[in-house]
Symmetry: C2
Subunit: 479 residues, 2 copies
């Protein structure tokens, strides 16, 4: 068993040695993902897709509860649509895939494989929106998008990824802003309560906002290497797109007005965040709410009478309580090998059931996050497991929060900023000048992440250029 354990551990590069290689090892070896045949593409394997399905289920319920409906818009967008909004085309044109032939014919107008769907949705919304009675118009779409990226990494940055994109129209600027912030709050609550990932919420700088938006807000998470990962964005699009796509409605007062618009999205890169926030030297650690298997039951001395039956009986009981359970009754693998495999795969709880346990009316459970071992009576097991899954969730969240706190520094000098972004997040005052922001990026590799909603200035001058400070903001290197 010691040898086997060694084998598993050596499959994964230590985090301290090379965090990037550790990440790649974990996502490949746990069979969450594989490289696709076309450069920069990924195949999401069943274990990774299982996480995505749970993410979808949790998010979709939240979108519906806030009044949104799902729809599906076409993949292929006429080139001319992309070109209508100046900032938008500038932002996306360099990274789109072009369809130039259909069947045996050259197309008169090339088509873009959607990198995002604002333009095609605007075209339809302009057709559908007639009167104030049609507002708000609130749809979401679950789909694939393609962005022709040069440097790619599974989940984090790939030429194709899966995501959801919400698109809404409103009668007033106030309602659009309210929706923008409401959906950011949905993302925050989801990240913290489902993924166990603490996030900073705030507004992006002009430089970092979405191409075509009036304002972009984000949730930013810290990975274990101190880098930021933007895990979701919510955009107030103002009337930028409404004006170029002519999205108008007849208002109560009898006049025609342009609608106010929002869009917001999250993607499969959240899976990358889960890995990089919670994983450890043994591999993956999945937050219970998105773990495809929450409890793996390992029968000990499975050949002995009653052991397998009891394992399946417990599985049935736990499943009836809504817990996702797998019995690993594979022959030909030792218990030790299995322990290590399920640890690597990040299953939140392991349960062992052997003849002696059955005699004593108990099971052994081991938490993946702390590796703490505990005996639990079979009676009332459902409630005990539910409680422990919540404890795992809470433990993961607190651990991530502590790490973030330990790697976030307040900087009032540029030297402090430079040192800080080597380690994690830097909390600083900034002049708001794009040129200053560019210089910081060029010199340190760090970008502005976002500006907290409740601004609490703690210095009068910009951390870099010394001009008057305008914004409290976070800087970090990012994924």
């Amino acid at each position: 068993m010691a040898k086997k354990q060694q084998e598993f551990v050596t499959q994964i590069t230590p985090r301290e040695e090379n965090f990037s290689q550790w990440y790649t090892d974990v996502v490949l070896k746990t069979e969450m993902v594989d490289y696709g045949p076309v450069k920069g593409t990924m195949v999401i394997r069943p274990y990774g897709y299982g996480v995505w399905e749970l993410i979808q289920k949790e998010m979709d319920a939240r979108f519906k509860a806030t009044g949104h409906e799902n729809a599906y818009f076409p993949l292929l967008i006429p080139k001319s649509f992309l070109e209508r909004e100046a900032e938008h085309v500038e932002g996306f044109a360099p990274e789109v895939a072009w369809v130039t032939r259909g069947g045996t014919e050259e197309l008169a107008e090339p088509l873009v494989v959607r990198p995002t769907s604002e333009t095609i949705i605007c075209e339809m919304y302009a057709k559908w929106l007639q009167s104030w009675r049609d507002l708000p118009m609130m749809m979401n779409q679950w789909c694939n998008v393609v962005r022709w990226e040069k440097a790619t990494r599974p989940f984090l940055r790939t030429s194709e990824f899966l995501w959801q994109e919400g698109h809404t129209l409103h009668a007033t600027a106030e309602e659009a802003q309210e929706e923008t912030l409401k959906m950011l709050e949905v993302y925050r609550e989801f990240a913290e309560n489902v993924l166990a990932i603490p996030v900073f919420c705030g507004q992006k700088s002009e430089r970092e906002k979405f191409a075509g938006a009036a304002a972009t807000y984000s949730i930013e998470a810290m990975m274990q290497d101190g880098r930021a990962l933007q895990a979701g964005t919510s955009h107030n699009l103002g009337q930028h797109f409404a004006k170029v796509f002519d999205i108008k409605f007849l208002d109560k007062d009898g006049s025609h007005k342009y609608a106010w618009q929002t869009s917001w999205g999250t993607s499969t890169r959240m899976i990358g965040a889960i890995v990089m926030v919670h994983g450890d030297e043994r591999g993956l650690v999945l937050p219970p709410k998105v773990a495809p298997i929450q409890v793996v039951i390992l029968p000990i001395a499975a050949h002995k009478e009653g052991v397998l039956d009891k394992a399946y009986e417990l599985k049935a009981r736990l499943e009836a309580a809504g817990i996702r359970v797998k019995v690993d009754d594979r022959e030909g693998q030792s218990a030790g090998w299995k322990f290590n495999e399920w640890e690597m795969r990040g299953v939140p709880m392991r349960m062992e059931v052997g003849p002696r346990d059955i005699e004593n009316g108990q099971v052994v459970v081991v938490r993946r996050d702390t590796l703490e071992k505990e005996f639990l009576p079979m009676e009332g097991l459902e409630a005990a497991i539910e409680e422990r899954l919540q404890l795992v969730h809470d433990g993961l969240y607190q651990k991530a929060l502590k790490l973030r706190e330990s790697k976030t520094v307040d900087a009032t000098t540029y030297d402090e900023l430079k040192a800080g972004v080597e380690k994690g997040f830097v909390h600083a005052m900034w002049c708001g000048d794009e040129a200053c922001e560019e210089e910081i990026k060029a010199e340190t590799g760090a970008t502005t992440r976002n500006m907290p909603f409740e601004q609490k200035p703690f210095s009068d001058v910009c951390v870099h250029c010394g001009k008057p400070a305008k914004y409290e903001i976070y800087f970090a290197k990012s994924y």
Copy 2:
């Protein structure tokens, strides 16, 4: 109210006058779908997408119950992959969309936007499959596919559609055949028990089989105009793809063997089938199990005290019982207008609640399929509604079955076949010769649909050419 009713009805072309236009009117006016900006594409609007979500939920549960897991494979496939299997490239190359540019670069090898994913999945399976222990390998994918079609109609034939595609590998030919038929049976059970659509199951002819398959099986449904719609297919791929993609495993006996493979799929065209099987002169009639709204509650004299409260109270009670309910409390529309709108939208049951009903402790319910009106006591309403939704389902199924029976004829002469396919399905004996099949198609517009599993010959000679009959088969014009 009479005038309003008239208005709704005149929005929809009568079925007898022009079935095709009736279909288009129904899918557009119920806001299930709209035309996309690129020729041949569709936008699935929330009401249509709601049906798709319910289809997905029901099917996905069946796939998982039969041991399949979901995964996601890339959209873009290298041209060379498509070309490896000779029949496959011949079948699909004329109708694919080509990506030739990424960002600002011309691609060295053009990429195909997936028309189906056999080739790219084979590439990955070849990499993942090592030993007999990895078998069976059983995955499903929910995704979009693109086929560059000339003549298109919403849901029925579009340049892009949504579907699921299952792909499995097995150790033996027998297991692959068993899987092929098992999934066909899943489709049949789903079509009949969820969509209330009776289907004929059987094997396709060589001419009509999937490009690259050893054998294709289908479920075939009859639309109200007597045409067939292939609502799902299941393919035994034999070792055709395994040999060209080198999908091998080390078997128990120590030798390397090619795997046996299946694939199976259904798509958003099922929504078109629902419309064309169950719809009537008032518009859509949705089978209850995939109706986004199963019961619409219309408060009568909603301004009177207690009416709205009671409507929402009933909604809450029904929802707690798992029924999908909407209260239509819009002001400014008459009850008659609303009755007609919800009839057009095919909501299976309408419920009216007014002051007198509240006094009497009852509600009025009207079945969409029969328009039968009934008083139901508020007490025990949940069970009564559940029972009636099942009655609507059964009624729709029986009605469709009767129509199919009335439009299916046994033909022993070519004249009978020619007359029969003008009206519906023709059940006949056929020689099995592809040239004979081609002639029938050229002369009558009808194709072979499928061959029942239990062959019961009823004539010795082919219905067309007079050569010895080999197969009992259905002929029909089709969508």
